[in-house]
């Protein structure tokens, strides 16, 4: 399954950016084999509605879940409407966040 991580760079070892709408990149990781692609967050510099635009881009990337620090109500609403699951309160690097997500999945 593909998951999107809000990040401060386009790589697995980039730090997880705690803010969803205004992060510089989304790293879209395939949890099966940890392959990934990076998405520039064009919405980061938007005046208003950055979270909504970011959420739309993430939804179009094919990700089924989002790992981030905080996610505003509009972005959350958009992601949920698009059928993505949102996990807030994540930290560390992109790879670490995905790892703990995976171990959380196997534990449950």
């Amino acid at each position: 399954m593909k998951i999107a991580v809000s990040a401060s760079g386009p790589a697995l070892d980039a730090g997880l950016d705690p803010r969803f709408g205004r992060c510089s990149h989304f790293v879209i990781v395939e949890t099966e084999d940890m392959s990934f692609e990076a998405l520039d967050n064009a919405a980061a510099a938007a005046g208003g509605g950055a979270g909504i635009q970011a959420a739309r881009a993430v939804a179009q990337s094919g990700a089924r879940a989002v790992l981030t620090g905080n996610c505003g109500p509009s972005a959350n609403q958009t992601l949920t409407a698009a059928g993505l699951e949102v996990f807030t309160g994540c930290s560390g690097t992109v790879a670490q966040a995905v790892e703990s997500f995976r171990s959380g999945l196997s534990a449950s």
Partner: protein
């Protein structure tokens, strides 16, 4: 003279006595047998009713048109989302989602949808009421709490104003969109100010604004005798007439706190207001100076030539924020913030009151970085390509595309343009482009009390909410790199867009309120707003001893709401003296009553704030 005389009463900052002047003027003229109307356009914090006690006879909702998507017709092509500049409608892979609160009601998505799947429905943003207060016709607009857009409600109130007689418009404070909406419709403007450094600074901004709009104006000095003479020197130098002076008087202040008119408390003032009418008629009859509606890069003070920094998003950081706000302006918010900065350990400051920024007057910043701010887009018409078909004017819902007299081609009234792009999308000749508007500048500075992020919004510029967000974001980044444990923000007054931007996601909000009926009324509205954001809130009553009765009432209101009064500050002339000396009151007069009370207030605020921080940690 044409049908009637519209007088706008405005000021660069709140709390200068706008409502006092507007209500007293209306009542004084009404008593002379004139046909007079009072229109409260300060829709975020309408207070005129407190002094006029009108009987309300009619009320109607103000709505804007927002999209409704028919899912049976929608093929998810996404044209609606591309047309919308405000992210109020977004096409997801499986459905279209709308955000009515972000919608400006431009109609762009409706035009853009090739399937005809989008219709519009009205959404309430406020209410307009009309009635009578004795012989005075009364109109007011009230913005619903939590709504960001005041101009439609102001337009609603202006629509209900009589077309003849004298119409007194009580404008919102500041120089941003809601003020423009009010002032542009007036024949003459009264700019109310105080003889203090904050007053002078804000008057300059207000003067720039009315000059840009080309409306004739004069100045009213309220609380005359309380500060220094700078305001008179400045007006003399600029050739601006001071039309009226209201003395600094405890009688007037007490009357105000009870919701009583100044002309009732001090009857000799009545003649002054009566005489004002003739002066205003004369001013209004003067030929209007033709003005060019150009968006210029606003002129900035200072001779610094610091390197511009990129307008990039700073790395996201989480620094605890204390935001000081007030329902209405002029309650002493900035004086409290300045003192907090002097008392706190290693703080960083941010001035989010970008419409009437005053904190820099006390902090005397040395600017390290300055960056232009672009808050949105504006339509630009290529006159060569324009064929004058007028489709743009027809589609624009903000009256921003006009045809100058004797011209075929269209022009954009930049002060009205919402940047929605409907005209550009509509133009069959490709004559309209959307260009970035420069709305202001923001600064990173050093001060004796720590790092400081502040901004200046260009006169009559929009997007103050976005600029506020920019200032706070950079405030947090600067605080982080300076190792500050705390960011203290001077918030915007009111309850609209910039205030929402000031308080969202803050750790704690302190509301500064005055013990007056207006203060209580505004506290109620701002408290409702803060509670919508689920942020911890405390209250401080400034000039508490001016009206012990109102102070008790506020304390009781607060208790009922489960809010804590964290401090009461006594009235102390040294607060103004400190302002004149460009210092916070705890620095300038550490032994005075105000300084003592503020130190006590700070200890309580700090305790509450620390509790919030610990609470947050245990939550996680």
């Amino acid at each position: 003279m044409k049908e009637g005389l519209r007088i706008a009463v405005a000021s660069g900052k709140g709390g200068t006595g706008k409502t006092t002047i507007a209500t007293n003027l209306a009542v004084a003229l009404g008593a002379l047998g004139k046909k007079v109307a009072y229109v409260d356009c300060d829709v975020e914090e309408p207070n005129g009713h407190i002094f006029l006690n009108p009987a309300i006879e009619w009320s109607g909702e103000v709505t804007i048109r927002v999209p409704r998507v028919d899912e049976r017709l929608c093929n998810l092509c996404g044209a609606c989302g591309e047309a919308c500049r405000h992210s109020a409608i977004v096409a997801l892979p499986s459905r279209v989602l709308t955000f009515p609160k972000l919608c400006h009601g431009c109609g762009g998505c409706t035009w853009a949808c090739p399937q005809g799947a989008i219709s519009e429905r009205p959404r309430r943003t406020g209410v307009v009421e009309t009635g009578h207060a004795g012989p005075v016709d009364f109109v007011r607009g009230i913005l619903d709490v939590g709504e960001a857009m005041a101009p439609p409600v102001i337009r609603g109130a202006l629509d209900k104003a009589p077309r003849d007689g004298v119409v007194v418009l009580d404008a919102p404070p500041g120089t941003s969109c809601p003020v423009i909406e009010t002032v542009r419709s007036a024949d003459v403007v009264l700019l109310v100010t105080e003889p203090t450094p904050f007053g002078v600074n804000d008057l300059k901004l207000a003067v720039e604004m009315v000059k840009k709009l080309g409306v004739p104006f004069g100045v009213v000095v309220n609380r005359a005798g309380s500060g220094n003479d700078e305001v008179y020197d400045d007006c003399a130098q600029e050739g601006i007439s001071v039309l009226l002076e209201i003395p600094d008087s405890l009688d007037i202040a007490r009357a105000y706190s009870r919701g009583q008119l100044a002309i009732e408390a001090v009857p000799s003032l009545r003649t002054k207001f009566e005489e004002l009418l003739g002066v205003l008629e004369e001013l209004a009859s003067a030929e209007r100076v033709p003005h060019e509606m150009k968006t210029e890069a606003p002129a900035m003070d200072g001779e610094f030539a610091a390197e511009p920094v990129a307008n990039d998003e700073p790395a996201v950081v989480d620094v605890p924020e204390l935001v000081v706000v007030s329902g209405k302006g002029g309650t002493g918010k900035t004086s409290v913030v300045a003192s907090f900065l002097a008392l706190a350990q290693n703080p960083t400051a941010a001035d989010c009151d970008v419409d009437a920024a005053d904190l820099h007057l006390v902090l005397e910043p040395e600017v390290r970085h300055r960056t232009p701010f672009s808050g949105g887009q504006i339509a630009v018409i290529d006159e060569e390509r324009c064929r004058g078909c007028g489709l743009c004017s027809k589609r624009c819902r903000f009256g921003a595309v006009v045809t100058p007299d004797g011209s075929e081609v269209r022009r954009v009234q930049e002060l009205s343009c919402e940047g929605c792009g409907v005209c550009a999308d509509a133009c069959p000749h490709g004559a309209i482009e959307m260009a970035a508007a420069q709305n202001g500048e923001w600064f990173i500075s050093d001060t004796r009390l720590g790092p400081f992020v502040h901004a200046r919004l260009g006169i009559a510029q929009e997007n103050s909410g976005k600029l506020v967000s920019t200032v706070r974001r950079h405030g947090r980044a600067v605080a982080k790199s300076a190792g500050s444990p705390l960011l203290i923000c001077d918030g915007s007054p009111g309850i609209g867009c910039p205030v929402i931007a000031s308080i969202a996601a803050a750790r704690m909000v302190l509301v500064v309120v005055e013990p007056t009926l207006s203060g209580r009324h505004d506290l109620e509205r701002v408290a409702e707003l803060v509670s919508q954001f689920d942020i911890h809130m405390g209250i401080c009553i400034n000039k508490a001893d001016v009206s012990p009765e109102q102070t008790e009432e506020i304390a009781r209101d607060a208790k009922e709401r489960g809010l804590q009064v964290l401090g009461r500050i006594r009235y102390d002339p040294s607060v103004t003296a400190a302002q004149v000396a460009r210092r916070s009151v705890v620095e300038a007069r550490p032994d005075g009553p105000a300084a003592q009370d503020i130190r006590k207030l700070w200890r309580n605020v700090k305790d509450e704030f620390d509790k919030q921080l610990t609470g947050m940690r245990t939550e996680k």
